[in-house]
């Protein structure tokens, strides 16, 4: 634990608030794109196919990028104010580079109508004549810029931590196995962030490599790459990005929840081994996205299957039971922050549990690429990571001892929870009724009952999205009220026990 000068603390907080406000602006804008898509599917507005798929692409890529960016920013803030000094110039460089990347992507999708979907499965970006050729180039360049910014941030953060903890041995907790080392007590947030970011490096290198290959082809159309190789690379990158985002958000729950339960949550051998297992399995379990492609060797299927199933054990044993241990008979006062963390863990548990179903082969072939898929990933993003992010932002924006007083925030929170689960339930019902995902319209399926069901579910979803927005709005009012509150401006990060 380091002691920062108040001036330095304020600068670090300003950077984090800049990230936080950017998130709070972009998040509802991306939700709005989702609302337009559901309005179109519900036949409440007429949405051109080109617009639907441009919105779908920006919504997916934007949300994945936004959640990773804010998760990275949150661990950056907590580490820089507590454990090691980080260079603010590097922080702002990463922030502005990401903003440039987002702007380019927005231009490519909304103006250029680039609509290859969030994972842009090769060779689709180059094989649809309906979007402008320049929009492919600008979208790919923007994504490359984002990848470079994120990789720079990851490498810098790891470099700073390695310097502070004097090498990998301390940083990765090997002293627990060997019983020697200088930093005996490595905080969970440091260990989890470090190991997650190390696992993210191959993912981001692969992601940048994909973008480089796409860039070559966009400038030299006679080039062509192997579709199966690109499919593997794409899902490896996508799976790594989403899992690392989740793990970084869990890292700050390990750091912040104990401040409300007044219980310690220390790194120990069980935590260490579980997280090592998690990250190792994560690198293999991307294969679960390729079960419907029988070109791979059977051994690859078996490896993917085993990794996907086993990857559920470590997080549940160590994190979900860890949250249980923290809260059980803790005499906690249920302010907005622990509530967000608890319900975020619930979203994670539900999203993870239903993912198990899809790994089971008999279910995979009848659920894969139906609306079940957005149901699953919205469970752990909207009702998991987003709640963790909001928990962090309430923490960041709050003066001391403020978190227990706010009825407005709690009202907004419960409205958000009701709207969120209602919204996700419509996706689940769609999936269990075999309704395909990524369909701008359901008139071409040839099934009257499927069309009627899909339209009804979409229309009900619109209502739930409006409820989500109302809940968010109330939480936003509370957040900004906290941020601009004049009295008692001393912030929580001054290591005060509360």
């Amino acid at each position: 634990m380091i002691t920062q000068e108040p001036v330095q603390l304020k600068k670090e907080r300003n950077l984090a608030i800049t990230w936080g406000i950017s998130f709070l602006i972009l998040f509802p804008l991306l939700i709005f794109l989702g609302l337009l898509m559901r309005l179109g599917q519900g036949e409440l507005i007429k949405l051109l196919l080109a617009n639907f798929y441009a919105f779908m692409t920006l919504h997916g890529l934007g949300m994945a990028g936004l959640l990773f960016s804010i998760s990275f920013a949150a661990v950056w803030y907590l580490i820089s104010t507590r454990y090691t000094k980080l260079n603010l110039k590097v922080g702002y460089f990463i922030f502005f580079t990401i903003i440039i990347g987002f702007a380019g992507l927005t231009f490519g999708t909304l103006i250029g109508k680039f609509g290859a979907g969030w994972y842009m499965l090769y060779p689709l970006p180059f094989k649809d004549p309906t979007w402008f050729v320049w929009s492919i180039k600008i979208s790919i360049i923007s994504l490359t810029v984002l990848g470079i910014a994120w990789l720079t941030g990851i490498l810098y953060l790891l470099y700073a931590l390695l310097k502070e903890y004097k090498g990998f041995k301390n940083l990765l907790g090997w002293q627990f196995a060997s019983e020697i080392g200088e930093h005996k007590d490595i905080p969970p947030i440091i260990f989890i962030t470090s190991i997650s970011l190390i696992a993210a490096i191959p993912g981001f290198i692969v992601g940048i490599a994909i973008m480089c290959m796409y860039l070559f082809q966009s400038f030299e159309p006679v080039l062509s790459f192997n579709a199966v190789l690109l499919n593997n690379m794409t899902f490896f990158f996508g799976h790594t990005l989403s899992t690392v985002t989740l793990y970084c958000s869990i890292a700050w729950v390990y750091a912040l929840l104990p401040e409300f339960t007044m219980r310690v949550w220390k790194t120990n051998k069980a935590l260490l081994y579980c997280w090592y297992a998690s990250l190792f399995l994560m690198l293999i379990s991307y294969a679960q996205h390729l079960f419907m492609n029988f070109i791979h060797p059977l051994s690859a299927y078996h490896a993917g299957l085993l990794a996907a199933y086993l990857s559920t054990v470590p997080p549940t044993v160590i994190t979900i039971l860890g949250v249980f241990e923290q809260l059980y008979h803790s005499k906690i006062k249920w302010g907005i922050i622990p509530l967000l963390f608890l319900l975020g863990t619930a979203g994670l548990a539900i999203g993870g549990f239903v993912a198990l179903l899809n790994i089971y082969q008999a279910f995979n072939k009848i659920l894969h690429n139906t609306l079940w898929v957005p149901a699953h990933f919205h469970s752990y993003t909207l009702m998991g990571i987003v709640l963790f992010v909001l928990g962090f932002l309430f923490y960041l924006f709050s003066p001391i001892n403020y978190q227990q007083k706010d009825k407005l925030a709690k009202t907004g929170f419960w409205i958000f929870i009701a709207g969120g689960y209602g919204f996700i339930l419509m996706f689940y019902l769609g999936g269990f009724n075999s309704i395909p995902r990524s369909f701008a319209r359901y008139t071409g399926t040839g099934f009257k009952n499927m069309h009627a069901t899909a339209v009804s579910l979409s229309q009900i979803s619109v209502g739930f999205i409006i409820i989500i927005i109302i809940g968010l709005l109330l939480m936003y009012i509370s957040l900004f009220f906290r941020l601009f509150k004049k009295k008692d401006q001393q912030h929580l990060t001054d290591n005060t026990v509360y």
């Binding site: 039971l321 249920w334 198990l356 009952n449």
Partner: protein, 193 residues
């Protein structure tokens, strides 16, 4: 909304299991919130909870071992020893399905087939599936709109899918892998007699 009901046992079962899992999570949340507020003044009981960790760990390992065994046993992956009664070549193109009986020796680009095909009931059919442009997903629905099986159509590769149509009637093929603007209108028909 009458259609939002179970259509087939497998989808139904998946829905029920998901619901049971979600309810279990909700119960745990209620339990945690209720017990945390009741315990004021009582000694900390954190360590009693620690005792369930090994039980949970070995319990989940046992359940996963069973599920992994079943999953590998019923893997969708086509087995080499699978013999087909009839073979159909399928090529996905933006945004249509082309099908013809037999194994085609032509490239995906040269292949000529039809959007509809007639197949026999209760016979093991082998679909050899590829694509002429982007990745598609060859997905078979019955006449009630229930998804029965699927596999991907990938350019330059051939996927094999075995299926026995146990009932006569019309089956619809949809594409479930997003393949561009007209993706939701890409369909074909299999007549089974």
């Amino acid at each position: 909304m009458g259609q939002i009901t179970a259509l087939l046992a497998l989808q139904n079962l998946a829905g029920l299991i998901s619901l049971a899992g979600a309810l279990a999570v909700v119960l745990v949340i209620i339990f945690l919130i209720a017990t945390s507020s009741k315990s004021a003044g009582k000694p900390c009981k954190k360590h009693t909870i620690l005792k369930i960790k090994p039980i949970y760990f070995w319990g989940i390992i046992f359940v996963l071992a069973v599920v992994i065994f079943l999953s590998i046993r019923y893997l969708s992956y086509p087995r080499l020893q699978d013999k087909a009664d009839e073979v159909v070549t399928v090529v996905g193109i933006q945004w249509d399905w082309q099908m013809a009986n037999g194994i085609s020796d032509k490239s995906a680009h040269e292949f000529v087939g039809k959007n509809e095909i007639l197949l026999p009931v209760n016979k093991k059919i082998k679909f050899i599936i590829t694509s002429d442009d982007v990745t598609h997903s060859f997905s078979i629905y019955n006449n009630k709109g229930v998804l029965l099986t699927q596999t991907q159509a990938i350019p330059q590769y051939r996927n094999e899918l075995f299926y026995i149509f146990s009932q006569k009637g019309d089956y619809t093929i949809l594409c479930l892998e997003y393949c561009g603007l007209v993706h939701p209108f890409m369909s074909g028909i299999i007549h089974v007699e």
